[in-house]
Amino acid sequence: MIEYLIFAVFVGLLLHGIHRKAIARIQGRPGPPIWQEILHVLKFSFKETWIPATASQTLFVAVVIIAIGVWSTALFVLLTGGSLLLLFAVYMLHKIVEHGLGLSSGSPYGKFGAIRSVMSAASEIPLFATIAAIYLITGSLMISDIQAWQAAHGPLLFTALPAAIALYIVVLAKMHYSPFAVIESKEIVSGNVTEHFGVWRAGLEAAFGLKTFVLLYAFIVLFLGPMPLLLAAVAMVLLLLSLSFICALSPMLSPFDTVTIQIGTAGLIVVYVLLMGVIV
């Protein structure tokens, strides 16, 4: 079990590294080596660490621990073929981590990040529309059942393309350097992670690595179906590269545009689900 966790953290951080490298190459820069993010975490964890005097101390630390715990839970839900609903509940709870990170430090930049995070809560609506679409098609929300359904009927990607697109946008919104990443954009320093430095940042980066791994793997599992480990790894990297292209080529949107686009997507998916519900 612990081996899965450690493996996922390292692979997730490696994926972050590949993401950065790909973005740099697309933009014509050499970019850091792909294991840079792993080194980053080690570097942060060796830094001197304390808690800012203005912070709400308990919350400041607890949020880091909760972030790691939340994504560990998600990983195990995914691996044991548990409930899809639970997996995405965990995804939603990540929102609380974002708020907590920003609010707990007392820094105005962190607070701005948290406020933007509240606004972009709209991005979670496509998620539930996705879940509803999958439920209408497969009749179950257990990931193991969805796998079995795909083994029998072929990948869900073709059956429920709009739902896949919605999930793709949701995954995109959570990537570093994504056009939707308004909560940590640079005009507010580092947004909600501004004050988390040293060990706290190392823990957070580990959690975010876990998050990237879980989200990409969840997309593969949900829409491409069961496949051998090596093939899954290739699929994850390809998926990541497609995301990197979008991140590299699109500017960061303003908070208002972010919310508009995400609500727009959500609206389209809801219409799709309602239509499907009527037709089926």
């Binding site: 964890s45 715990g69 560990s72 195990f76 706290w200």
Partner: protein, 70 residues
């Protein structure tokens, strides 16, 4: 709220032991899956954070005001 190096080390070791024991117990079929998962989910974050603190426990007595403005 500084943490002594010893405390951090002890937490690291304890959390690591919980994680490894739970995983091993699950592999050997001694522990049910969900118990192993819960133990791992609870212990792993503490392991990571305490490990970092143990590597470089802060010597500073008090916190600092955050860096603000350029």
């Amino acid at each position: 709220m500084t943490m002594k190096k010893q405390t951090a080390g002890a937490v690291t070791v304890a959390a690591a032991m919980v994680c490894v024991a739970a995983s091993a117990g699950w592999r050997l079929g001694l522990i049910e899956t969900w118990i192993a998962i819960v133990l791992n989910v609870v212990a792993f974050p503490f392991f990571l954070v305490a490990l970092g603190l143990w590597w470089n426990a802060a010597e500073k007595e008090e916190g600092d005001t955050p860096f603000i403005g350029y």
